[in-house]
């Protein structure tokens, strides 16, 4: 169903958001008509008939006060509940969602698919498959907005935010930056192309010789930055072993425990002294300025893929 003055519904969630929208539109029209009607009818009916007319006083009516407090309250709570249920669905990406990496910077969107394929200000996605965007910014706040999918999420420097959708309609749709980000804010736009799953695969493979899968890029970085000098599974290693660490609790030197998630790994690369693992000295230098946001994402993907059983990871590791 296409509502007038609305973008196409091209994602699984678009229909449910439009349904709530229409419900609130109906409530808005009803109450607007009610108030306009009351004011118009009373204003005409009780217009002043003589200059010295003084009507009787009416103090109020508690029953009416309760009525027009409780009824709007109940109606608004239905909006709250419906809107919250749909929002919670939207806020929790499905486990099997395919991840795509997005880095915003003044004034472009840099996008990388797990296979390593990159694009700028364009996003190709497969139809009928949940896709999760993992996003961060190199500079200021941005916001990733696809009207046809009814999804939007701020893109924040120093943090990962995520947004997911499942496209349901082939075609090309607007991509906008909706958080004011400076001079070319209104030029930070692009297109989202929804392809059939076969076409998406084909698209991924074009020029694939030049593409390095994201975890492999991470592995190469791990090598060139000499991470494995300290982070290996050998006894007496100067840094904690990273095999199988992702998603697990980590005991810190200050006694607290933290989960080894994206945020933790990112912080450990950029500000290693902030969260030192128990049993290790704070030897690691900061890599701030040596790795960019895309490279940090690649490193995280590599570490994510390290299995507990992985071979000891000196520079020769090849598993992904």
């Amino acid at each position: 169903m296409k509502i007038p003055f609305s973008p196409e519904q091209a994602s699984t969630i678009a229909g449910s958001i439009d349904a709530i929208y229409l419900y609130i539109v109906a409530v808005t029209i009803f109450f607007t008509a009610l108030i306009y009607g009351l004011v118009a009818v009373f204003a005409v009916q009780y217009r002043r008939k003589s200059p010295d007319e003084v009507p009787g006083a009416i103090h109020g009516h508690n029953g009416l006060e309760i009525t027009w407090t409780v009824i709007p309250l109940i109606i608004s709570m239905t909006m709250f509940i419906w809107g919250t249920v749909v929002f919670f669905h939207y806020a929790r990406p499905p486990k099997d969602a395919q991840e795509i990496f997005v880095v915003g910077k003044q004034w472009m969107w840099k996008i990388q698919h797990p296979s390593g394929k990159r694009e700028i200000n364009e996003l190709h996605v497969p139809i009928n498959k949940p896709v999760r965007l993992k996003m961060t910014s190199e500079d200021v706040l941005h916001s990733f907005y696809i009207p046809a999918f009814r999804v939007k999420m701020d893109v924040i420097p120093g943090r990962y935010s995520s947004l997911w959708f499942e496209a349901t309609r082939l075609g090309s749709y607007h991509l906008f930056c909706t958080e004011y980000c400076g001079t070319q804010h209104s030029g930070m736009i692009g297109k989202v192309h929804v392809l059939s799953q076969e076409d998406y695969q084909k698209w991924l493979e074009t020029g694939s010789a030049a593409n390095t899968p994201v975890p492999v890029s991470g592995q190469e970085l791990f090598k060139t930055l000499n991470c494995a000098t300290c982070h290996n599974s050998g006894s007496g290693a100067l840094g904690p072993n990273l095999n199988g660490i992702y998603g697990k609790p980590v005991q810190l030197a200050d006694g607290s425990t933290v989960t080894a998630d994206d945020k933790y790994i990112r912080r450990s690369i950029l500000k290693p002294a902030d969260q030192v693992v128990a049993g290790y000295a704070a030897l690691m230098p900061s890599y701030q300025g040596q790795v960019n946001e895309e490279q940090i994402m690649q490193l995280i993907e590599y570490i994510k893929g390290l299995k507990e059983t992985s071979a000891p990871a000196p520079a020769s590791a090849t598993e992904v």
Partner: protein
């Protein structure tokens, strides 16, 4: 006494410049505010006109992007900090609160004058910032753009806004003490005109919320000028923290703007229906409910900022709750008309206009409180339309309605009624033509603060720009006929509307001390009818 039999009034009591610039008379200070905020209103309006001109076409052909970004930033800063926030309280509140409660002045007349000077200093600094290159952060000053990346005169602007905040705090404090301590004998709390109740609630917010803005701007200043890491993640700061601090003030600030206009509405509906306000106590207490709940909804500006979805849920439900007292007011005003004696002078036309625009503005807030819908319309033109319906539709209709209603009292002159009716009509029609299309643009997905936009949005943008030119004429007319009336308007009697209230019992314009003797109040507000009708619930 002069030739017309009136006593010397506050306007002709003295004519020297120092008698104006050093005055401690709340009425003269109100006039000083009226002149200064009017200047800023037309400056802010000029920026708006240039924005609407640029948006006539999808391409960025009239201004460069940087210039456009400065225009919408300056429009926001000037209109919000230097016009809307002071508008009704500093002009009408200042003039009327002492008179309405039967006092000779505010509790602290010198602090009242100081408030105006602080406002002028803050506004001058901000004007200076405009002249040395402007500022392009948006009125929201989001970090880290404002602290690191913007090339504009950010520091100077926030110093201006910071200083202006103290004007607001002092005015709020002055009103609170005045309303508590200076009421005439017999003027009990529930005999206060609802205009005074609304200003009481507003003053609470001014005093409690403005310091938070001041601290947020101060921290912003520290980071911008001294590179102390507070909001910039590269320095270990948190950019989202700024949004929390900013909206902790700036959402309640919306109520600082709208509550006084709601107070004006209550006066207008009572006066032009010749009836007490239906459910007076509910209207009075709903102002307090709005002021209190308004402090706990700031996170609804941040549903897609990465804040916890559970925090979002709490902010969402509270945002629905804060809508209820506004609905209660709208219903009570409508019910006041029932069996009234309704006349259609200009102030009442503005009151009808207020109800018309505020209803739409309020109801469209429901879309934004609903998290799932807000995800789609956040930071689009839907939001722009919504807050203009409240802050321009609501606040400005109240301000203009009030200005017309009390103009004869303030100046002693009557304005030309036919022209005024025309202006009220133009404002209402022009406003809807300007801002209604923006709801549609927003749901279609047009982001706000866009210098250039895709072609499919052009038709509605042209409607909006056409509406803005009608609106502009509607706002310009009162400037002309109000000034005209100062010289050519008919002299006003003490009570041209046949309205109730202490301000209508003294001469127009009032004497410097308002009352020769402090009045003794023996009846409730709006006691038009001698006997009570038999309709009490």
């Amino acid at each position: 006494m002069n030739s017309s039999g009136k006593k010397t009034n506050y306007l002709n009591a003295s004519h020297t410049l120092s008698s104006w610039f050093l005055t401690v008379d709340h009425k003269r200070i109100a006039i000083l505010y009226l002149i200064t905020i009017s200047i800023f209103f037309f400056i802010g309006g000029l920026f708006a006109a240039l924005i609407r001109l640029e948006l006539l076409t999808p391409a960025g052909d009239l201004f460069k992007s940087d210039e456009y970004n400065k225009l919408f930033t300056l429009h926001g800063i000037v209109m919000i900090f230097f016009f809307l926030i002071p508008s009704v309280p500093a002009v009408l509140g200042n003039f009327l609160i002492p008179i309405m409660i039967g006092a000779k002045d505010l509790a602290f007349p010198r602090i009242n004058l100081l408030s105006w000077y602080i406002y002028v200093i803050g506004a001058t600094l901000a004007t200076l910032a405009i002249m040395v290159g402007g500022v392009d952060t948006g009125w929201t000053f989001y970090t880290p753009y404002s602290t690191v990346y913007s090339n504009g005169a950010v520091a100077l602007t926030i110093v201006g806004a910071f200083i202006t905040g103290f004007s607001s705090i002092l005015t709020g404090l002055n009103f609170l003490v005045t309303i508590h301590k200076m009421r005439a004998p017999g003027m009990t709390w529930f005999r206060l005109p609802l205009f005074v109740w609304a200003h009481y609630a507003t003053s609470l917010i001014m005093v409690l919320a403005t310091p938070v803005l001041a601290s947020a701007l101060f921290l912003l200043f520290l980071e911008r000028v001294f590179h102390i890491g507070i909001f910039n993640p590269a320095l270990g700061g948190d950019p989202v923290l700024f949004q929390h601090l900013f909206w902790f003030y700036s959402h309640p600030a919306v109520y600082i703007m709208i509550l006084p206009s709601m107070g004006v509405m209550s006066e207008l509906f009572a006066a032009f229906s010749r009836k007490r306000i239906f459910g007076y106590e509910f209207v009075a207490c709903s102002s307090l409910a709005i002021a209190i709940l308004g402090f706990f909804v700031w996170g609804h500006h941040m549903f897609v900022s990465g804040q916890s979805m559970y925090a979002g849920m709490v902010f969402s439900v509270l945002s629905f709750l804060v809508a209820i007292p506004s609905a209660v007011k709208a219903f009570n005003w409508s019910a006041t008309l029932y069996k009234g004696s309704i006349s259609y002078e200009t102030p009442m036309l503005y009151a009808f206009g207020f109800i018309g625009l505020f209803t739409i503005g309020g109801l469209t807030g429901l879309f934004l409180s609903t998290m799932a819908v807000d995800v789609h319309v956040h930071d689009t033109y839907f939001v722009v339309a919504h807050f203009h319906y409240i802050m321009v539709g609501g606040v400005l209709m109240g301000y203009l309605g009030g200005l017309h209603y009390w103009w004869p009292k303030i100046t002693g002159r009557l304005y030309p009624e036919a022209w005024a009716k025309l202006s009220a009509l133009l404002v209402f029609v022009g406003f809807n033509l300007t801002f209604f299309p923006q709801f549609l643009l927003g749901y279609m997905g047009m982001p706000r603060r866009y210098h250039m936009y895709p072609e499919e949005f052009q038709v509605l943008n042209v409607c909006s720009s056409l509406g803005a030119s009608v609106l502009g004429i509607g706002y310009f007319l009162p400037l002309v006929y109000f000034l005209w009336s100062l010289k050519f308007g008919k002299e006003s009697p003490a009570n041209p509307w046949g309205a109730k209230g202490l301000e209508w019992e003294i001469q127009s314009p009032p004497t410097t001390h308002n009352f020769d003797e402090i009045p003794v109040v023996t009846e409730e507000a709006y006691a038009y009818a001698k006997e009570d009708g038999k309709h009490h619930g």
